[in-house]
């Protein structure tokens, strides 16, 4: 039975083999493993497989249903794209950790219970940090440390939530939980860290831009979408998520406009796109949930594509800062073209992928009477075109000519980008194929005259706003600067507080020490004065003097007796 071998293990085994193999054999292994995983997924029938009995609990390593299958497919595709993109990378750490990270994430998706979910949750975090450290700079080392700390906290919360939930309900199974259930809040925060909820989001913008060219592509596909998957399974219809998601769509676009590092701009737009999915999960109707997971599917591919194009720019020019780039379309025409396809996809242009997925969420929001939320999502849709759709290609490939003349991206990178671009267009043109894979039944038609016209108006006038602001010089120039975000709390406030506390405590301790020293010397001196050599109480008295004193006392006694 095909289900008796977990799909995640296929990818993990590929990673282990890649560690032993070299050269072309390693290349082949990293390509074949995701293909095998895809074949295995296609053959899987819904059901529970690979059940282990550990510590008196039943662990299910393969819980197969349409939701887990959908994420399995897209993760396998992303692994394949990432592997092709990385073919020219001669770094064993990246080539090995990428499939292992992907495999652990896939294994987490198919986990039917929260203990195995926890195990693969943590393993995927550990495997993924290697893609950041593989940059081998002091900056990436420190960013990786912050990243892994946040990820492990998420895992600890997951474990705590799972145990609380098990103690109350008697079941460790991973299914619908809801916020009201015991441990529900802990699990929501654990998943929310991965899905980059507001104030829990900044590990993403902090760490992803510090990873290697190929590393960021792989990172962008898995961790955050695992969070979305977990939310879709455990918290569908949780109203709070509508508001959380709407916030996520809106606030990062402001940061994206003023951010200079173009991969960090994309990281902000990740939180923005995840926000749409979170809103869909919060609404919780069939249309909304279908929209959320379909958008996750589309997002994994177009975000990979965008990170691939920026990775190619970083590889060839050594920078992805908007201040240093411009005019690269002359040197990298293919990369430019693929980047524009990714930009059109994330912006939801008709015939591109997000047009057929994001709109399901927005329609569901209106159907459920969330008109205010719908307006926020519309604002975020215009904003994402503005910062990811226009800003990324404009500052990298067009705009002011930086004078940089470099080579076009390597062949393997171009092939990966071409495949991803083809998928983006394919989903946009033939949405039925993706809709057929969705977990719930779909009755949605994206290509109506109203929808196409409305979307084109929104996008063209957003572009006009950009053009007008650029031509009038109002558009803020790219600056070499850092913008404060929630990571300030643990990168600046935390260390500063610790430093302040340390100095207060050490000053207190010094004062206390001085006081204690003063007291003890005083005591010693006093003791010495009375009991020390020559001290009054330490003097030896002569027998004669003692006899004299006693007779004096006796005389006194006699006088008082007769008086």
């Amino acid at each position: 039975m095909i289900g008796e071998w977990p799909v995640g293990l296929t990818l993990i085994a590929g990673g282990v083999l890649a560690a032993i193999a070299r050269g072309r054999v390693r290349d082949a292994v990293t390509i074949i493993a995701p293909l095998l995983a895809l074949a295995q997924l296609a053959a899987l029938a819904p059901g529970d497989y690979v059940q282990l009995h550990v510590l008196g609990r039943t662990l299910v390593l393969m819980h197969v249903d349409r939701l887990s299958l959908l994420f399995g497919y897209v993760f396998a595709i992303a692994t394949l794209l990432g592997a092709i993109y990385a073919l020219q990378v001669d770094d064993a750490v990246q080539r090995v950790s990428a499939p292992i990270y992907a495999g652990c994430t896939v294994a987490a998706v198919f986990a039917g219970d929260m203990l195995s979910l926890f195990v693969f949750w943590e393993l995927s975090a550990i495997a993924s940090v290697l893609l950041i450290w593989a940059r081998r700079t002091e900056r990436s080392y420190r960013a990786g440390m912050r990243y892994i700390a946040v990820q492990l906290v998420s895992g600890m919360l997951l474990l705590a939530g799972a145990l609380v939930h098990e103690a109350a309900s008697g079941s460790i199974g991973f299914g619908y939980i809801g916020l009201a259930a015991p441990g529900g809040a802990l699990l929501l925060v654990a998943f929310g860290i991965k899905a980059s909820f507001p104030f829990l989001h900044n590990w993403l913008q902090d760490a992803y831009p510090e990873a290697t060219e190929a590393g960021t592509v792989v990172l962008s596909s898995f961790t955050t979408k695992l969070g979305i998957y977990a939310l879709a399974r455990a918290f569908p219809g949780t109203e709070l998520l509508v508001w959380v998601g709407a916030t996520m769509t809106a606030f990062p676009i402001f940061y994206a406009v003023i951010e200079n590092d173009l991969r960090r701009v994309l990281a902000y737009s990740m939180t923005n796109q995840l926000g749409f999915m979170v809103v869909g999960i919060g609404i919780g109707t069939d249309l909304a949930l279908n929209g959320a997971v379909a958008h996750a599917f589309a997002d994994i591919i177009f975000k990979s594509l965008l990170f691939m194009s920026m990775g190619a720019v970083l590889l060839r020019t050594g920078t992805v800062n908007g201040t240093s780039l411009g005019g690269l379309y002359k040197s990298m025409p293919w990369t430019t073209g693929f980047c524009i396809v990714g930009a059109a996809s994330i912006s939801a242009f008709p015939l591109f992928s997000a047009f057929v997925t994001k709109s399901m969420i927005m329609e569901a929001a209106v159907e459920q009477g969330h008109v205010g939320v719908w307006l926020v999502l519309l604002f975020a849709s215009a904003g994402v075109f503005h910062h990811a759709g226009i800003k990324i290609p404009y500052f990298a490939f067009f705009g002011h000519d930086s004078g940089i003349r470099c080579k076009e991206a390597p062949g393997s990178m171009l092939v990966a980008m071409a495949l991803a671009a083809a998928l983006c267009v394919g989903i946009g043109v033939f949405p039925g194929t993706l809709y057929a894979l969705l977990p719930w039944s779909v009755d949605y038609h994206p290509y109506t005259a109203s929808h196409v016209l409305a979307q084109l108006q929104l996008l063209v006038f957003s572009a006009l706003a950009f053009a007008v602001l650029m031509r009038t010089g109002i558009y803020p120039p790219e600056l070499r600067a850092v913008n404060l975000d929630s990571d300030w709390v643990y990168r600046r406030l935390g260390p500063d507080l610790v430093a302040a506390c340390t100095s207060v405590v050490s000053r207190g301790l010094r004062t206390l020490g001085a006081a204690a020293r003063g007291l003890s010397t005083g005591l010693l001196r006093w003791t010495l004065r009375w009991h020390g050599p020559g001290g009054l109480l330490a003097r030896t008295q002569s027998t004669g003097a003692m006899a004299l004193w006693i007779s004096a006392l006796l005389a006194l006694y006699l006088v008082m007796y007769y008086a």
Partner: protein
């Protein structure tokens, strides 16, 4: 890459061509707004059916976004090595 190729003047290098593109975009925008008169949009939200609603919303949303973000720099901007010091 030969020097001749590096110095090649591209179509987009000429500012009059960029202006042409901008005017083209304006024309497309105009056509899309005119299309609103012909196509009767069916929107679940009543006010979204107003003439040119999406065009106006898209334009002003982006202007507001950029101006707000520009103002946010005053509070949020720090030197590039802020966290490395």
């Amino acid at each position: 890459m030969s020097k001749a190729k590096a110095d090649k003047v591209y179509w987009l290098d000429r500012s009059e061509n960029v202006t042409k593109l901008f005017l083209g975009l304006c024309a497309v925008g105009l056509l899309l707004v005119i299309a609103d008169l012909i196509v009767h949009r069916h929107d679940a939200v009543a006010f979204a059916q107003w003439f040119g609603f999406y065009a106006a919303y898209g334009f002003f949303a982006c202007v507001a976004l950029v101006l707000t973000a520009k103002a946010m720099r005053r509070v949020l901007k720090r030197p590039e090595d802020y966290y490395d010091r």
